[in-house]
Symmetry: D2
Subunit: 137 residues, 4 copies
């Protein structure tokens, strides 16, 4: 089963640079907003993980910029869970301009699991195994 | 005795908006950088206050914008401690463009003291009385 | 007639500082979002003013912080147009936590009008007189 | 010849998240600061390219996070020009904590050249050929 969701947003004045387009450094925020949305829909929020004893810091983040977004543009970001056997949490992202639905950017993020004393988990934490069993089977 | 210091900085690309001038929302960061510099010089850093059992959150922040700053402009921010009998920490700021030294912005900030259970201090914490005695007399 | 509107929002992870509360420097963005919403509802967007030949840069910005907002908190920001005879555009803001509706912050902003060669307007631009006649009478 | 430079910096309070470490979304800014430094040293600043008729927007950006940085940590970022025959501008970055010099993050960025009507250049612009001849031979 494919786990994915999406979120619409509008470009803010503060996100646009002096060339009139969204500054590339604003995209990590769009990706984070998408992860929030995903976490809310599929019960995988930061606080939920933390209650189970784990942090899930980003270890890798990748962006490809294909077309610029401008002030007042409307866009949507799609986020999809990428399944893996590794003890990692990987998401793929696609940002599309609206209403024409053209791809403007894409990317992915990789998170690992740390316990509360900041040890890296080499195997999936139990809570996350259960999460996968529940949502992916 | 007047406690003050200053810091030079250069405008970053990411701080400039689509009109080619520094976005007004970047100035809180300049003020914070100035407080950092002050804290370092006059032994009043966040971590120092925290070690003495106190937070000093901002409760008021004021900006006046007189001239725009542009990408690559050089500027300096001056910060001065404003003495008061109240249990507050007040700073005045002036930002000047360089090398012409014209005022581009000014403002002030007000901080209060909270103990570690977030109770507001109505009187000066002991550590801050000592600080004032040391630096102001 | 009182011109005002409001906008709900949720605190993002990136807006929270190491004390677990919203960094004071995030509030200019909340205010700007409120101005956007106001502009959209009352036909006073940046681009609209620009098409009429004017910029409306911020010249004054004031914040009072009363209670902290935390990650995942829901809040709303209210924005109200403050009428004045001066050639200025003034807004008052109130941020309230939800659902308890308590005030967490307030403030105001002052904008002036510049023409496209960056001359300060000492009198109301025509387009803004018309706007006031339309919306305020 | 290897073109590279480096810049030291200190972690600001506003860059740290609620887990007490630098928010991943702050790193694009560190990379940009490094490009600025490089541009200044090797005569390849945004404005310089623009004067020659070209923009150089980012089309790809990649981060790997190995260790967290905390408030007040000192770090340095190294930037190196990666030579390529393609009509691209590629930089590699390494961020190291100080004074222990351990790698905390790395990554790369890819820029392309657009002319002033936003057409993608499939071949190196003349000014950039000259730049390469001057600096790389």
């Amino acid at each position: 089963m494919l786990l994915k969701t999406e979120k619409e947003f509008e470009i803010r004045f503060s996100e646009v640079d002096s060339m009139g387009i969204v500054w590339h450094g604003a995209y990590p925020l769009y990706f984070e907003d998408a992860r929030e949305k995903f976490g809310k829909e599929f019960n995988l929020e930061y606080l939920y993980m933390f209650e189970h004893g784990f942090y899930a810091p980003l270890v890798e983040l990748h962006f490809e910029y294909k077309r610029p977004l401008k002030y007042k543009d409307r866009a949507k970001i799609e986020i999809a869970y990428r399944n893996t056997d590794a003890a990692k949490l990987i998401f793929d992202y696609t940002i599309r301009s609206l209403p024409d639905n053209q791809i403007v950017a894409s990317g992915y993020s990789v998170q690992v699991f740390l316990d509360k004393t900041f040890n890296l988990m080499w195997e999936l934490p139990e809570f996350f195994k259960k999460w996968k069993n529940f949502y992916l089977k």
